[in-house]
Amino acid sequence: SAVISQKPSRDICQRGTSLTIQCQVDSQVTMMFWYRQQPGQSLTLIATANQGSEATYESGFVIDKFPISRPNLTFSTLTVSNMSPEDSSIYLCSVGQMDGYTFGSGTRLTVV
């Protein structure tokens, strides 16, 4: 299965600023997703990152707040824009392959 490198692993940010999270995969993958998770709780899908086109966002998530790039089949970024304390969470990227889904280790974001 694919190996994912996600950076940064954690960050503490001031409200009103933006943070870009990177997800690098060691092989080409078609399906790549971004999730949000409160510690110890379930995962909520933010969007599907589409290579060469705009990401597909789930209900409650918008491009202006969570812009996503997918320049090729091995890399994607998620930006959390104009952050507020409510954005404090764990953000994870995931890739889907024939043998299942693999997740990055997550980015723990704290907004102060």
Partner: protein, 111 residues
């Protein structure tokens, strides 16, 4: 909106006990996956079941997919402290590749 109800949300047991975690939905899923997650890490896939009535075993873990592909269970036999973690079920949404996650079950196995 498709929902996956997972229960129980918390479970604290002694080493050697058995346990079962359930995931239920009113929706049909193309597949049902089970993950285990430890603090500071992403979820790790344990198993995928795709056929109604399918049963898969992974050492002391037994996974079952309901006949109608709306529910699933995870049974752990003789739990060990190393089984401690967050267990998540996730339903697959056909060709979209998307997953709907249950609320998660935090399992603590005490020595």
């Amino acid at each position: 909106t498709q929902l996956l109800e997972q229960s129980p949300q918390f479970l604290s047991i002694q080493e050697g006990e058995n346990l079962t975690v359930y995931c239920n939905s009113s929706s049909v899923f193309s597949s049902l996956q089970w993950y285990r997650q430890e603090p500071g890490e992403g979820p790790v896939l344990l198993v995928t079941v795709v056929t109604g009535g399918e049963v898969k075993k992974l050492k002391r873990l037994t996974f079952q997919f309901g006949d109608a592909r709306k529910d699933s269970s995870l049974h752990i036999t003789a739990a060990q402290p190393g089984d401690t973690g967050l267990y998540l079920c996730a339903g697959g949404l056909g060709n979209t590749g998307k997953l709907i996650f249950g609320q998660g079950t935090t399992l603590q196995v005490k020595p």
